[in-house]
């Protein structure tokens, strides 16, 4: 099953490589990875999506917790949560397709953030499924470039991941 694990990590050089290294060393897999500093500059928040059965996920969280640089973590998929991913896509926009792209962008509640005579750059946020669906819809028109951030997530309700 797919899990989203969010980690508060010491914002230190080498900390990220320990996390990434752990996954390859122990033969765990990383689907997406997203990392940036938090409001506390000494901490980074790292979100990783991974796939595994309960036994594997248990080992992943235990080994992550063992890393000295990992301060705290939560498996968001254990409870209700919000997951979002941001994607920027360059799609061909010529002739009749220009309107067609615009309509699809509206349907997906995406935004066109840059325009040239031949293409649109579209910004879209949502869960991974929505982004995949958008790419599928755009495929006949012609996708030129895709930049996805990987999943970021947060728990719904009063639960807070902080120190």
């Amino acid at each position: 099953m797919r899990h989203i694990i969010s980690i508060l990590l010491e914002n230190e050089p080498g900390a990220l490589s320990r996390v990434v290294g752990l996954f390859s060393q122990r033969n765990f897999n990383i689907e997406t990875l997203n990392v940036a500093p938090t409001e506390d500059p000494s901490l980074s928040r790292l979100t990783v999506t991974t796939i595994g059965d309960d036994r594997v996920i248990e080992q992943i969280t235990k080994h992550l917790n063992k890393l000295i640089d990992v301060v705290k973590l939560v498996d968001l998929t254990e409870g209700n949560h919000i997951e979002r991913e941001l994607m920027l896509v360059k799609v061909k926009a010529l002739g009749a397709a220009r309107d067609e792209v615009k309509r699809t962008v509206d349907i997906f509640r995406a935004q066109i953030v840059d325009v040239t005579p031949s293409l649109y750059t579209v910004q879209i946020t949502g869960d991974a499924g929505k982004l995949d669906a958008f790419l599928q819809a755009m495929a006949p028109v012609g996708i030129l470039e895709v930049a996805r951030t990987g999943v970021s997530g947060i728990a719904r309700g009063d639960k807070v991941l902080s120190l």
């Binding site: 490589s17 320990r18 290294g21 060393q25 036994r55 080994h63 063992k66 000295i68 990992v70 301060v71």
Partner: protein, 574 residues
Amino acid sequence: MELLSGADMIARFLQDEGIEYIYGYPGGAALHIYDALFRQDKVKHILVRHEQAATHAADGYARASGKPGCVLVTSGPGATNAVTGIATAYMDSIPMVVLCGQVASHLIGEDAFQETDIVGVTRPIVKHSFSIRHPSEIPEVLKKAFYLAATGRPGPVVVDIPKDMTAPTERYEYIYPKKVKMRSYNPVTRGHTGQIKKAVEMILKAKRPVFYTGGGVVTGKASEGLTDLVKQLGYPITTTLMGIGAYPQSDRQCLGWLGMHGSYESNMAMHHADLIIAIGARFDDRVTNSTSKFCPTAKIIHVDVDPSSISKTVRADVPIVGPASSVINEMISLVQGHKIAHPEALTEWWEKIDGWRADREGKLYEPSKVGEALKPQEVIEALCRVTRGEAYVTTDVGQHQMFAAQYYKFDKPNRLITSGGLGTMGFGFPAAMGIKQNYPDDDVVCVTGEGSFQMMMQELSTCKQYGVGVKIVNLNNASLGMVRQWQDLNYKSRHAHSYMESLPDFHMLIEAYGFTAITVNTLDELEPALERAFADKHELVFLDVKVDPFEHVYPMQVPLGAMRDMLLSKTERT
């Protein structure tokens, strides 16, 4: 306020931390530190002949004493040579701090002379690592390094020190940090009381219980408590290779050790048990054999300080995260005043176990006959007699390692010093050296083979320099015995590169360093040679014992089988 250079801070910190010996080898990036060590006399530096030996020596000391070992090497090849020793310590959870010189900060990343990203190289084999980014950080980082190495589940810690961080011209305030605080590291100090209660209830109700304890009891200094608990209950106990000696092996309740080359009765008892009480052991593949066939009728209680060890390979029914010592003590207090629920079942269980014991009694190996080559097992038994079972025994890796563990009877923890997890050939001799320097009045013997010994024999020179009186028992079968055994069993005796051609004349080799060598060919020469070797505690003596090259280590678990599936000799199996 005291101003010190980074290099002087390191020397001073080691003094303040109470480090007596540091093992190492100098080189460009570490020279400021070496100069600082030269200008003091509290911390003694031992110059090895290869950095791998420095790590093994520090590791041996750490295993024998329970305190962290300390290593100092230079950048690049100095650090990469230490890698095998760091991995060895990591796999067996041994506390060790390795200080590595590094090229100056402004050169990092430029492929400078003797530059290696040693933090990157060692990342998967350390508990943690640090890079010094400012000289003023040194005292705090070193304190953290020693704290991390020695607490929780111990392990090696690497500290990377760019040369400019130790420059004599840059001086900063030095204060020895008495305490460490790390928000992301809080090792557990005790187990969950509810879980411990649940475990004790199961323990008291068990009909066919077995204690299965490992290195965690030794490193967790919980041997006394364990012995109390097991004796109070009257239950059988088997240990892992790493846990040998945590419970006295000469006691009737001890079944020996378990796993691939463990005792018949240990493996049989495990297979038929209804409750396994695992403490400080990690269900390693050399113990469990096939996990799908592992102990089919047993419930499992698993106590470990490292949560990731629990349910890693075998699912625990009652997991308890906590240090062996405090969990065991809590168990003792809960057991006290309670009787076991099924004493008659326990009696029956012991009858069964004693039956397994009797099955193999006197059949473990066939002693040599007059005129035949010595059996390696005989050598270890004689060694145990001559040293009254009290020596520190280090081993290398292979058949001799298994024989040493099988036939030397250890009644104390920290006495069998062996590379269990990584299986590092070359470990034994430098480890013995590290122990002997710290315990000069004890017998320290390295049981080795001619294959392993040749991997680290340059350390004879170190022993000569510092007058280290270790004893070396070389079980010389002129072949890589364990490899050969596997080739006999699995490759129709095609001995691909397991034969050691062109062996040196060990007698002459040892004498070239000014030490005594004794060659032993027959059984009647054996004990006198051992007596002679151990007569003077401070003299290095090398025994080159010619043993039967055709001998195999038995029992041996059958691959992909259950615990009870064993070869018992070349012709018998369970």
